[in-house]
Symmetry: C2
Subunit: 374 residues, 2 copies
């Protein structure tokens, strides 16, 4: 169930077995540095999302540059982070079910743990688990700022939940979770900014309602790679939760900034390296990476470095490549560097990051929380 | 990287942590029995596809009923099968790259191994690896019978490859691979049958060309859950490679048989069990299974047993549920049984099958070849 790594440290990239999940260390480190510098400049804390990388190795790199902690979506991801040495984890999601709450309460004995709620029953259930383990958890109220998924409506409904948190033994109010996921992928800069402006109205209304009730709001957290500059410019968010910026993907490559360039200058550092395994007809080839290797929920992968080759179709284990007229043919064993359509679920398909620099394998990083669904 | 199982044997289904991959043993066993009986009646051998289940436990169940071996798409899957006690494995796919060929040649020291080719260079490369390990491999020629993916054109091009196989030391000609993948998902019975009739023309032409060259064709293998009866009725295929029949999925549920019923009476035995984690507004709920738990390449999951609830959208870790007007509301912690859109890539997202019967967990089966991409 855990697969052997596709390479060894020191291997030349040509000797990596395919398909393999590759991290270009120069681009990756550049992305990490740019994001931390940008967050510092904007005056917001950076709490990167571990749902993207699922790796304490990556988390540690982010922490070393100044990140204040990590976000997770699942208790299993939080366990992997704490076990890997990350001592400040926010589960930016609701958690339901006794066993999961017990796991979270137990984890809070070893790290600072936060979690989100959008219903009073989640608060009482959480209080029961922290009582068993005699730990404390910070509870954030999630408000729906436009995503239409989880979260209470901004304003008074949030205030009611905060009062319930403050009344519950073992729990403290940790602030507001305000994340607008779908806004990350609105292509136009102006439209994306407008969506976050509307989200900000909900945050402002909720902060005002809390203040009117005499409740201090310790923080507002949210935002992602596609929009964080807009959240920051409102002055309402204290903490941003970007994850994809470390790697980028084909989907984020379709977002534009104000000047019409790729968002914030982050570079693609994540690739699925694939090999041509069949070249059955002129202009057509098949590679060994299908959608079990590169997730297609946000579209097909792009082919890096070969503008004349298109990844035209994914089946489970095959990628169908179309070679443009007049372009150099693809032959058996030729490598193609795929930019995944969506980085998060692609990483979740692999057990190992193969970290490369200068054409050689420099490190193998386990995807420790791969499959941490619970 | 391997996650703890979501339950223990003996647990009540209500105590399974979610999301979890569930096998309903009664339906599963019924599917296995029906398929073997049908293959026997049709006079074809059954070589189920392990790309679907990735589990020697499932493979052993199929073998016990009469299956002649297993198919795999990847060398890593074949390794998992042989290590799990399956001693007859056909890699129904091309394999390119020295390390993979070495692994395959080494495996042939412990089991009967077959592999497909569609290019002479694959044959010479394979011969080099079997020479190193002093083993033998059966080599099948893949012909493109309409899928437009891998495979040579039917007829003479296949004959040329067979001659190269027969001339190569350590290799023997194992027959023809003739699989029309996309035909499995043509909805109408008549149209699906017509696609296989066209595929059969290619098989017939190739068998005739081999006979004219004085070459015996040991077998023709192919077919899937959506079409196997059509391949069998032609009398041209000796062996069928169905995999999904063991579990079925929402996509196969959209195929019709001659009478307009679901194909061959197979039942859904595979579910992703999910919990409602947020119920933020009337008529709307969010469950804890998104597309990292249930693959959406062939569409969203269906909700089993609740015709009044629709799985309307998948994000990475969330499933958005819409509750029909007048239907019983979904509350926090309520369970939903999802029928995955596509069984193969869904199974590949999980480490464990939770096998249930009569409302209790009867077994935990490791998804041994999960992530076996290479």
């Amino acid at each position: 169930m855990v697969q052997p790594p596709p390479a060894r440290v020191g291997d030349h990239v040509d000797d990596i077995e395919t398909p393999a999940l590759i991290v270009d260390l120069d681009a990756f480190e550049r992305n990490l540095k740019i994001m931390q510098e940008t967050a510092d400049r904007l005056g917001v804390k950076l709490r990167p999302h571990a749902k993207t990388h699922k790796s304490p190795v990556v988390a540690m790199r982010q922490m070393a540059l100044g990140a204040v902690g990590q976000c997770c979506q699942k208790v299993g991801e939080a366990e992997a982070m704490v076990d890997g040495g990350i001592l400040d984890v926010l589960v930016s999601n609701e958690v339901v079910g006794r066993r999961k709450l017990d796991r979270l309460a137990a984890l809070a004995g070893r790290a600072r743990i936060g979690v989100c709620v959008d219903h009073p029953d989640q608060i009482s259930a959480l209080a029961e688990s922290v009582a068993v383990f005699d730990t404390r958890i910070e509870v954030l109220v999630e408000i729906d700022v436009g995503a239409g998924r989880c979260g209470v409506a901004p304003g008074e409904p949030a205030v009611e939940l905060v009062k319930a948190i403050e009344a519950a033994p073992g729990l403290s109010f940790g602030g507001l979770q305000a994340y607008h996921g779908s806004a990350q992928h609105i292509r136009g800069w102006g439209e994306r900014r407008q969506a976050i402006r509307k989200a900000a109205d909900g945050v402002k209304m909720t902060k005002d309602a809390l203040a009117a009730a005499g409740i201090d709001c310790p923080r507002v957290t949210g935002a992602g790679t596609g929009s964080f500059e807009f959240e920051a410019e409102t002055g309402l968010w204290d903490e941003i939760q970007c994850g994809s910026y470390a790697f980028m993907d084909a989907d984020y490559g379709r977002n534009f900034d104000e000047a019409g360039d790729p968002v914030s200058g982050f570079r693609n550092s994540l690739f699925v390296l694939a090999s041509v395994m069949s070249a059955p007809a002129p202009g057509r080839a098949v590679c060994d990476a299908g959608h079990k290797s590169s997730a297609i929920d946000s579209g097909l992968p792009a082919v890096h470095g070969r503008a004349d080759v298109t990844y035209a179709g994914a089946s489970d284990e095959h990628g169908s490549l179309v070679v443009g007229a007049g372009a150099e043919a693809l032959g058996l064993g030729d490598k193609v560097w795929l930019i995944p359509g969506h980085c998060d679920p692609t990483i979740n398909l692999h057990d190992w990051f193969v970290a490369i620099r200068g054409g050689r394998v420099e490190a193998l990083w386990p995807v420790a929380a791969r499959g941490a669904l619970r």
